[in-house]
Symmetry: C2
Subunit: 429 residues, 2 copies
């Protein structure tokens, strides 16, 4: 019997096979394959290398990612009759019909891949993947392989740079689904930012498919959906250790008075709807209280409501988790929030203890997923050998010339395991 993990893998494989059929490529791969086939060259042994010319984001490294997707794609590379009929309808009318019979029989059983490991630190102009096999087949693979590697590696590298900036302790949450290039862009982002060093994702499907820990509590819409304390139901909550439910709303109202006094705030500035939203959420999830506090005003309402509910939860021995700041000057607001927590901790030590870092989790959405400062990685797929003879592309732009022939990558380490130097094939060599 299949285990749940195997089932997930099977789902994933099926989903990838359906997402990346061999038709997902540029049309010119087929016109070239035809020209090779027509000249009887389609089975000549050929080698392509996949690499990029510059590290992204002006940085000094990249992470290579997408290999497992590439392997699944190769395993499932087969044209259906429908695919072939479509190609017949769009290729020039003088295409020899036998070519379509040839396509129907194609698979990647004669293709070999040699690649650096998924998630490896890599550098510009180093071959990340060497694809060898029959000329027409390895040509057909170009666009699909680039599509599977380019964005995966880019977003993985972007995530790693966020991780380096955030340091090893702070937790990082990917939350860019809504700004990704459609559903699969979002899934790819969740998956490869996790490989790049993010701890969490907001994307539930990515959590399900890839086993990435998921996180999230509430949006502004939840807060703004409440307008009065009358909407809070039930209003009671049992203490954490058990026992009779007590009137939680009454308890919170009491704490709100203390908090306003303590922080020198005016009770009339508190939004009743925001207090109702926090109360209702805390009653639903007393062990997971982490509201968004900037739906109206952090200082005049959100922070006061949070502290009142949090202190009431503490009184019932629950542990509030923290607050979420969504926009505005996050640094300034986090200082304001920390100050309030310190003041409140005089009343309830555990509230302070659970908040001894100013910012524990950083969620990144748009900038992470769209890689704003450089939204594409320029991986290319270049022919380097045919029939054992090296091939190169010259160009009037010397940067775009290729280094002919197959390459091996060496990394020379000293006895301590530290990098001695790296041999990089460059145009200058």
């Amino acid at each position: 019997m299949a285990t749940p993990l195997n089932e997930t893998c099977a789902t994933l494989e099926r989903s990838l096979r359906e997402r990346v059929p061999p038709l997902l490529t540029d049309l010119y791969q087929f016109t070239m394959a035809y020209a090779y086939w027509r000249a009887g060259r389609h089975n000549e042994p050929a080698v392509f290398e996949l690499f990029f010319r510059d590290n992204p984001f002006g940085g000094g490294f990249s992470l290579f990612a997408g290999l497992s997707d590439c392997l699944l794609f190769l395993l499932n590379f087969r044209f259906t009759s429908e695919d072939v009929e479509y190609l017949r309808s769009v290729l020039p009318v003088d295409t020899d019909p036998d070519f379509f019979t040839y396509l129907k029989g194609l698979d990647c059983s004669a293709v070999s891949i040699s690649a650096v490991a998924e998630g490896t630190v890599v550098f510009a102009r180093v071959p990340l993947m060497e694809v060898s096999g029959p000329l027409a087949v390895v040509q057909l693979l170009e666009t699909s392989l680039l599509c599977l590697v380019n964005y995966s590696s880019l977003v993985c590298t972007n995530a790693a740079r966020f991780r380096l900036a955030a340091g090893p302790e702070r937790r990082l949450l990917e939350m860019g689904l809504r700004r990704a290039q459609g559903p699969d862009g979002g899934l790819t982002a969740s998956r490869y930012t996790h490989i790049g060093g993010f701890d969490l994702t907001s994307n539930a499907l990515a959590g399900h498919l890839f086993g990435i820990p998921v996180a999230g509590t509430m949006a502004h819409s939840y807060v703004t959906s409440f307008s009065s304390l009358e909407e809070v139901w039930p209003q009671i909550l049992a203490p954490c250790g058990g026992g009779d439910p007590i009137d939680f709303m009454c308890l919170v109202k009491g704490w709100l008075g203390h908090v306003c006094q303590l922080l020198g705030a005016k009770p009339q500035g508190v939004r009743e709807g925001e207090l109702a939203a926090f109360l209702s959420y805390a009653i639903a999830y007393p062990r997971n209280f982490l509201p968004v506090i900037d739906s109206y005003s952090v200082g005049c309402s959100g922070l006061l409501c949070f502290c009142a509910v949090a202190l009431a939860l503490c009184e019932l021995k629950y542990q509030p988790l923290g607050v979420r700041l969504d926009s505005g000057d996050l640094c300034r607001q986090s200082v304001e929030v920390r100050h309030a927590f310190r003041e409140c901790s005089k009343r309830c030590r555990s509230l302070y203890l659970c908040q001894d870092n100013e910012i524990d989790v950083v969620g990144v959405g748009t900038h992470l997923v769209t890689c704003t400062s450089q939204p594409s990685l320029g991986c290319v797929y270049k022919l380097v050998e045919v029939c054992g003879r090296p091939r190169m592309k010259l160009s009037e732009d010397p940067e775009k010339s290729t280094l002919p022939g197959r390459k091996a990558i060496y990394r020379l380490l000293d006895t301590e395991g530290q990098a001695l130097f790296l041999i990089l094939p460059t145009a200058a060599l």
Copy 2:
């Protein structure tokens, strides 16, 4: 019996259903839905509006796109048992089990959508889509709808801006699949750049699924795979109107001598491999000869090879289509190429006639698909009404405050059908 079109639609619908299951959303939608459900508020009638705050690319308009995907998503919105079990495993342990029973029974039959038409010109802060229905359900839809609208509208708008810049005559080819956010990012780009005004795509699967005309001929790898004229086989070609095949290679060699003389070029600069590649391709596709001419040097080799093969094709009454320039100074090169065509047209008028425009088709890849200058559209989904009462979000950043209540969009046209003015709900009103 299903027609091919219906089959394609069915495939597309199935593919979308599998791509956008209701789990493809942020986890906090579920924690909020639970809190609503726990408080007995989940069936309260609520209204959300989807809009963006600023036109992208510093421009004056956007195109709204993604509506049909949203509607398919809503039609297929149902949780499987596996989805629900996954949610049970990640939501807090104190979640009431009856909530999962509630999720299992959910669909969008009680949800209404009112939207501007797909492809409509829209402006900032105008509601593009109004989603009304039970509070918990319309909350759950947020991320998926944003994911389906944001990138589609962005890339459609980007395409429209390219169209405006290119003018109405020049044909535009989308070719960004390899730099998109994975397979679906590429498909979405092909589909919505077509709506935005592109004529063609290189993406064969997009052609198949959406009926977009496809185009493409050859990459540099095809050219560099040849090194000698001995690799050309067959070397004969029958005239267009029929008749005995003639020695095409011999004919091309003759024309190459004329071309070099005509253009004052040195025959020894011509790359034998490039000539072989063009010859071989022309013999395979004599009616579709459009080679990439900058694999080595346009002036010293690629252009000479093209002219020789093209003139030989003309002699056999075939019509060569043109050349592709891939990189470098495209304007300078196009002038050089045009000059050569003019010179050659003295020998073969039809070559000139088919090239009376300097650049007929422009292919755009990375910049089009990744929307480099602004890689995301900031569509948001804001609660505007619950139980018939307006809701708003205030913010310390006035730009982020919402205008409460449902809105109607009016466009006032004069008797000529010209826009008189547009009523925009803005924060200033």
